[in-house]
Amino acid sequence: MKRELSLLVNGVTYQVDVEPHRNLLSVIRNEVGLTGAKEGCDDSECGACMVLLDGRPANSCSVLAMQAAGRRIETVEGLATGGKLHPLQTAFIEEGGVQCGFCTPGMLMSAKALLDSNPHPTDAEIRRYLSGNLCRCTGYSGIVRAVQKAAAAR
């Protein structure tokens, strides 16, 4: 049986009706209509579905949508403001942190959570914080450089 659910995504409240077994990722993509977060492994391994819940990274495939009620959800669509890219997005482009792009929304959200809590991380801290985000285009060096560049720009 469907339940009414109110989700706060990127500062906007969405009213949706969902079955309680649905995971947050599928509801964000299909009911809310934001397709930035990706389904990669569907098993909490790859991080393509990473969103922020109350500012902290969460694999949205392993959270029930019902559990996200009343919490602050951030997705990649909320990064750019006023038509201007977030410094992390700019740095990912400039440093070649993007190849196929499938992992990028998750990478960006983990990187944002990192910089919000640790504005000037070391390379080792960046690698550890992004350890739940897999890139299969072997783009890690560019990604680490991009996070450093965004940190320096703050």
């Binding site: 079955e19 569907d42 098993d43 909490s44 902290r56 959270v63 559990q67 350890s131 739940g132």
Partner: protein, 293 residues
């Protein structure tokens, strides 16, 4: 697929719901339950009671005379960054810092972790060497039992219908001479990994390098994490020389009951118990001695 979902606002609601629906699954962070049901590892329960809003179950509390209480909803991120755990219960913070990824550690809870009862759970051996107890609450009563009796097999616990884990308790340790502890694992990668073999050691070491008492436990080499008391007996009363450590590590390997699986053969696992236990002892001893200076 029809699932009943109930979100408890407080412990009484959760307890009462479980009293009425003893087969309901308790949902905390979701990192095991939600993932496991989707991948077909287990069937989805008919009823879920979500407890993630019960703030009274979250937090680390130092109790009288040096005991520690970890609420069931305390996350691995809370544990790995807790000053008191890092200082005095180091093997446990070592373990929590190894779980999954930052996202897993923010969502995953110690209560959920022990209920999942994986033979490879990182916190299992640290909880064994600290003689941890598990607090279970139901509508009728509250009881505690040793962690060693709580996990009864892979994915199986002694929790009865209608009971939920509300805390993990670490009793006070005699810290004179100073105690050091460590957990480490054999891993093929540094993140999003499951222990191939793991080991925890807790030791009290006096100023002359003599081990007063020792506790050793091993991970991912038996149906549950396992204490290795034969190894402990070989350390107690001795100076921790390389030979003594090696002999104790071999005694630990002798109690392992490993299996062949996708991560390693049983034979390799047994060999590696010796290596990982030796390293855990050496690291715990170094920490005990650093504490005595």
């Amino acid at each position: 697929m029809s699932v009943e979902y109930f979100e408890a606002a407080d412990l009484k609601q959760a307890r009462d719901y479980l009293g009425r629906n003893p087969k309901a699954a308790v949902l905390a962070g979701g990192t095991d339950l939600v993932v496991g049901t989707r991948s077909g590892k287990r069937s989805l329960p008919d009823a879920i009671v979500a407890i993630h809003r019960l703030s009274e179950l979250r937090g680390i509390e130092e109790q009288r005379r040096g005991a520690l209480r970890l609420g069931a909803l305390t996350s691995h991120a809370d544990i790995e960054s807790s000053e008191v755990v890092v200082r005095s219960w180091t093997a446990l913070s070592d373990a929590s810092a190894l779980v999954g990824s930052p996202a897993t550690r923010h969502l995953g809870t110690i209560g959920g972790n022990v209920c999942n009862a994986s033979p490879a759970m990182e916190v299992g051996s640290p909880l064994l060497v600290f003689d941890a107890r598990v607090e279970l609450t139901s509508k009728r009563r509250k009881r505690t039992l040793p962690f060693s009796e709580f996990v009864t097999g892979p994915g199986r616990t002694a929790a009865e219908a209608g009971e939920m884990v509300t805390a993990v308790l670490l009793p006070a340790l005699n810290r004179r001479p100073p105690v050091g502890s460590a957990y480490l694992r054999l891993e093929y990668r540094q993140a999003m990994e499951i222990a191939v073999v793991g080991a925890a050691a807790a030791l009290a070491v006096d100023g002359r390098g003599k081990c007063k008492w020792a506790r050793i436990a091993i991970t991912a080499v038996a149906p549950t994490c396992l204490r290795a008391s034969a190894a402990e007996d070989m350390l107690a009363g001795h100076k921790l020389t390389a030979d003594v450590i090696d002999e104790a590590a071999r005694a630990a390997a002798a109690v392992a009951k490993p299996i062949d699986d996708v991560r390693a053969s049983a034979e390799y696992r047994r060999e590696m118990v010796t290596v990982i236990v030796s390293r855990a002892i050496a690291r715990a001893a170094a920490r005990a001695q650093a504490g005595s200076r």
